[in-house]
């Protein structure tokens, strides 16, 4: 998972596999941070108050 | 579901909602304060206990049966290999047995209190001294001294540190959960180490093997 794992080797297998994994994790975490950041912005600006 | 039912059903819930929101508004400001305060307090307590209390709890300190003065013996007997020697089949004798010590210590030598304890409790009773070995690796590890000392011409200090110059034995710290000695698992809980003998985990061996032989080596090289 991380370069300080015992099994870590800078070879094709690790690049593809963990490259894909970290790429996916980054997308998910970016997506979530964007959502939360936007939510904070909306809540502070008092947007969500009305109950539709 | 008829109109009526729906209205009453809505009606009842609305009132409930109304009630809830009023409360929130009433103590709006202080409520947040209490929450945050508790947050910080809990955070601080856990943070400090995690960093300070936990390491001490995790490691138990044990004293050696009696003190052993390495410096004195090195001076008297010569290098490490006078007591820690290789057998002719290549295996390593490790910590000397009572039989070796008795060659000189048949009766009390010198006036230290530890000498008295050693002769009384162990030499006379012919009981092996239950030394707590700082650099004892777990059962799954096969470490070949001959490969390192003879094969790679390494000196003892790089793995055992300056124990040869010590006059007193430091307390033996053992991880309560795993049973590993602190010399194996490392002083610094975060894993930084100044000199090579501060920690002797798998990664440390692998690091040196990588440097010297170009690869971490196959599993069975160090496992049994």
């Amino acid at each position: 998972m991380l370069p300080n794992c015992f099994e870590w080797a800078w070879d094709a297998g690790h690049f593809l596999f963990f490259g894909g994994m970290w790429y996916t994790i980054i997308i998910l975490s970016l997506g979530m941070t964007w959502c939360i950041f936007k939510t904070i912005m909306d809540t502070v600006s008092g947007k969500g108050g009305d109950h539709h | 579901m008829s109109e009526l039912e729906e209205k009453t059903e809505n009606g009842s819930t609305d009132s409930l909602e109304m009630g809830v929101s009023e409360e929130q508004k009433a103590e709006g400001d202080s409520g947040i304060g209490a929450g945050v305060l508790f947050f910080i307090a809990a955070f601080a307590v856990c943070f400090l206990s995690g960093w300070l209390l936990f390491p001490n709890l995790l490691y138990s300190k044990k004293e050696q049966p009696f003190n052993f003065n390495h410096a004195l013996h090195v001076e008297e007997m010569g290098g490490c290999d006078s007591c820690h020697y290789f057998r002719e089949d290549g295996s390593f004798a490790g910590v000397p047995k009572l039989a070796q010590c008795v060659d000189c210590h048949a009766e009390v030598m010198g006036d230290t209190e530890d000498e008295a304890v050693f002769v009384a409790e162990y030499v006379e009773k012919e009981k092996e001294v239950p030394w707590l070995i700082y650099s004892e690796q777990p059962d799954c590890v096969f470490f070949s001294h001959s490969a390192h000392v003879v094969g790679a011409q390494m000196d003892c200090v790089s793995c055992h540190g300056h124990i040869g110059e010590s006059t007193t034995m430091k307390p033996y710290e053992e991880n309560r959960i795993t049973g590993y000695s602190r010399d194996i698992w490392g002083k610094n809980i975060w894993g930084f180490k100044k000199n090579s003998w501060d920690r002797m985990k798998m990664d440390d061996c692998a690091e040196c093997h990588e440097k010297e032989t170009g690869s971490k080596g196959a599993c069975f090289q160090c496992h049994k």
């Binding site: - | 202080s30 304060g33 305060l37 508790f38 955070f43 995690g50």
Partner: protein, 717 residues
Amino acid sequence: MKVDRRSFLGLGLGAAAGVAVTPATWKLMDDSSIWTQNWPWTPVPPDGEVTFEDTVCTLCSGNCGISVRKINGRPVKIEGTTGHPVNDGGVCLHGISALQYLYDPSRVKSPMIKTDDTWKEVSWEKALAHAAEALGNIRKADNANAIACITDNDKGTVSGLFKRLTTVLGSNNYYTMDTMEKAWATTIDAVNGVKAHVGFDLKNSDLILSFGSGFIEGWGAPVYNFQVNARRKTHGIKLIQVEPRLSNTAAAADKWVPAKPGTEADLALAICGVLITKGLYNKKAIQADDPSFKAFAKMAQEKYSPARTARTTGIDVASIQNLAMAFADAEKPVAIAGRGKGDSAGSTREFAAVYALNCLAGNINAPGGFWLMDKDPAEVWPSIEMDAMATQGFARAKFVETDTVDSLMAKVTASAKSPVEALLVYNANPCYSLKNAKAVTEAVKKIPFVISFSSYMDETTQLADVVLPSHMFLERREDVSLTGPVPLDITALTRPMVSPLFDTRHPGDSVLSLAAAMEGSVAASFPWESYDACLEAVKAPVWKALSEKGSVVKEPVSLVKKIERMDFSLLLNDTAVVAAEGDEATYPLVLMPVDNIRLTGEIAASPFAVKTVSDKVLKGTDSFIEINPETADQLRLSQGDEVTLTTPVGSAIVKVNLFDGIMPGVLAMAHGLGHTMAENPYVGGKGVNVNALVGPVMDAISGLDAAWGIRAKISRV
């Protein structure tokens, strides 16, 4: 400030965030998995200096040389001693698992006395006093001859001590268990009138004609034979196996001759007949004009002509001719007999027939042939002192003329009150290994006082009144003389590999201390203060070599040259024919006990050995019987069915195992299961003891047990 829901939420989140930032969680996760790598209940064997020490394994008559690997004096592995004349580095599976016998859970840990059916651990003094008192009362009642003693064989100093004790107590009832070596000795005595120890020089032979012997299944010295078998391809040694079932030996043999069970002797005599008619026998060895030979020749050619023998053995005439021609053409042929491992004696007629075959081939005392060895035990025993009770008892007649425990037990069963009032048992387990084991167990129960010297709580010891537990062979220094049919004369010395684990004694010391407890002339006849002293004194002639080198190998082996007569008259009449007990009508099938290298006869097998046993021989606690698929179809049985196996002697519930290699109409069952040892769950209570289903058949000539099987029937459960 009001504590409400939100503050609790804050508290929780704060704590979680706090802990997450410290190394605690990750450390605990890491340490918990390392904890699973070092569970306190997973043993950590201490390391140390590796040393090797040699000794001799005494689990069977092969006496292989073994070297024990020790770590700081703690034995961890048994390996073969390279260069040892018998086994040269190889060891059988039982020898390798000897350490499991050392730490066997059914070891007797201290002397015990049984009072109204419950064992009580006592001190050595108390146990010896109790035994001495009982023996003393019998002697005082002027019935000294009622004391009997059973040991495995009469070789070596410890058996000598037991024999001496029995004699000095005033009884001539000293018996040894039946083995193939005893049957051969009586045959040679009957035919040649000489006392000799039989040996087969198989390594130098070029044709081995085996009549039912488990040549590579534990017969004689098992590892010696394995190595002979391994040389067959390179040294051109042919092996022909005569057996109704495809055993491991038959499968490895160059030719398997599936003769009907119990007809091996007929086939041997038929081959003799063919050799004689074709004049292909060694004329020098046999005086053709000798009247007894002429009678034997006439009988062999007529009574056992190939045509008639074909009917009795089921082997066609051509095959019999070929066998004879093969035996004649071979330069150094040898014929061997002794069923399976040779644990039980066997019929003298069969041994005589095979011996006749060897005589015709003229290979007696020849390289690669049949050796009559003269083994001088090199023991020096001081004289004994007999008091009045002893001399009077000793004068009385022995309970059973022939030296066989079967007849002794039969005599005890027959008489209302047991003639034997006290029984000493050492290195033998009659209640398990004698045929018709249940009857033997009842007989031993009738004996008022039984003293067992066993190291294990085996079937016989469970019935004893006093147990004087012996060291296990890895804890003893003792002389061992090679008894197996191997062309070697070796006396070896076993060395203690570990200091005794329990409150046990060397059996020699037990005899000495028992004699001392009896005081009087009995004590006087044992002038040594310990067994080690006795060993040194008795083996004085060879002690120096024995103690230094660990073994004395007599090179060359001294052979019995002077043979008075070659008289095969015992084969002329049919009295010695051994048939299977039970009538054919009620018992249509024949049950044969089969010796399996992976199981042991005398003592129970080790947990490792039982683990190697196939699940077609033992499954859970059920034994299997091998049956030919044809016979199984006739009885509408399929693999794994549960059936009741009934023989004239007993019955048991077993499972069916279809095996093409067994002759239709014949059943086979492994020997060595059915031990009843509660403390040892690894072997106790597993399977059926085949000895409980097969009855003894007394041999007309030797009186030993010559049973090779029994008639049986099976019915669905």
